[in-house]
Subunit: 196 residues, 2 copies
DNA sequence: GTCTATAGGAAGATAGAC
DNA sequence: GTCTATCTTCCTATAGAC
């Protein structure tokens, strides 16, 4: 067993924990499963982290900061076309990595149940909301439009639609229905856009 | 310890499990926590249920069948008013019992990770979709309107909005923002309603 | 047919060896 | 400063007593 610094160990453990969660789910992500995955001695775990909860805190922070804003890929065409293709570009990322998205929902539920992590769940969520707001904002600028609905309201509503669709698709994997609902959301968004 | 029939024990255990889940979360709902809550001897557990998974199957079925369709409470006024007050009547139920709704999300995630229960999660979800469809249908009849959006698409989109809003509100408990987003969904719904 | 007693193992955490 | 060996607790499940 090579002896590494606590910082290097922490890094290995966080990344290993994420891999285990994606593979087996948050509930099965035990300290032992993590150290095995990372090929780190079990004892090193509680030398690097005060507790399992502290590891999970690092994991949530790491995953949250990795979440990317949707990218406006084809800024040409009608507002509906642009909105639709941007939403589908986001959706393709969900479809490519279902397990990773599944994990974010599990982590949120987990965090809500741990007194020490509930605040982190709120922070994570505020981050997603601000990403969504920024995305709607930059889309409006790219399209030369403004939204007729208050931005915070539109952002929360939109985040809900995407969260809900993702959750539902993770369960039934119905691509056709998810795509149709996403198109309907795109149609809605273009209906609340007016030239600015 | 009174000796009761296996059927009575099963009933006690399912209801006790639901109480424990609401109080402590699905992850902490161990067989021991359930038998303690039900005041049932530990050994009786595996006499009534082959495994913990079999208990959870019963719990999911029980909770799914308890889910009620939204009720159209004030079938007078503009379509927007009726839709809005119906959505808010549903929302009030969520706000009154946050823990119960939290549990349904946890159970779904849990079921998706258990090979033997994944199908049940899908079935549960189809049930929610059909409730939502029936609700949109009866609302259209009550209002004398028809929806300009394909019903299955509208139902999935609507279920996503409600699922997403619920999930988000369970995290930040922001009543004002949730209410505003719900109003926006009501406005959207009334915008896809035309006299029939 | 119902439940007591216990098996058998995996969990998170720590004292102290190197 | 890093990790080995071990403690304690809690888990699901079962064999067999009543």
């Amino acid at each position: 067993m090579p002896r590494l610094s606590a910082d290097e160990r922490r890094e290995q453990l966080v990344e290993a924990a994420i891999r285990v969660m994606i593979r087996d789910g948050v509930a099965k992500t035990t300290t032992r499963a993590v150290v095995t995955e990372a090929a780190v001695p079990l004892g090193a775990f509680h030398y690097c982290f005060r507790s399992k909860e502290e590891l999970l805190q690092s994991v949530i922070e790491r995953i949250t900061e990795r979440t990317l804003s949707p990218v406006i890929t084809h800024p040409e065409g009608t507002p509906y076309d642009v909105i639709r293709s941007t939403l589908h570009a986001y959706w393709d990322r969900v479809r490519e990595r279902p397990a990773e998205h599944h994990v974010t929902y599990e982590l949120t539920q987990y965090a809500l149940r741990q007194p020490g992590l509930a605040d982190l769940a709120r922070k994570q969520y505020r981050h997603y909301l601000s990403i969504n707001r920024a995305y709607l904002d930059s889309m409006a600028r790219a399209l030369g439009i403004r939204w007729t609905v208050d931005l915070p309201v539109l952002a929360r509503h939109g985040l809900s639609v995407l969260d809900g669709l993702t959750l539902n698709w993770l369960i039934d994997r119905d691509d056709a229905e998810a795509s149709a609902a996403l198109d309907e959301y795109a149609r809605y968004l273009s209906s609340v856009a007016v030239p600015s």
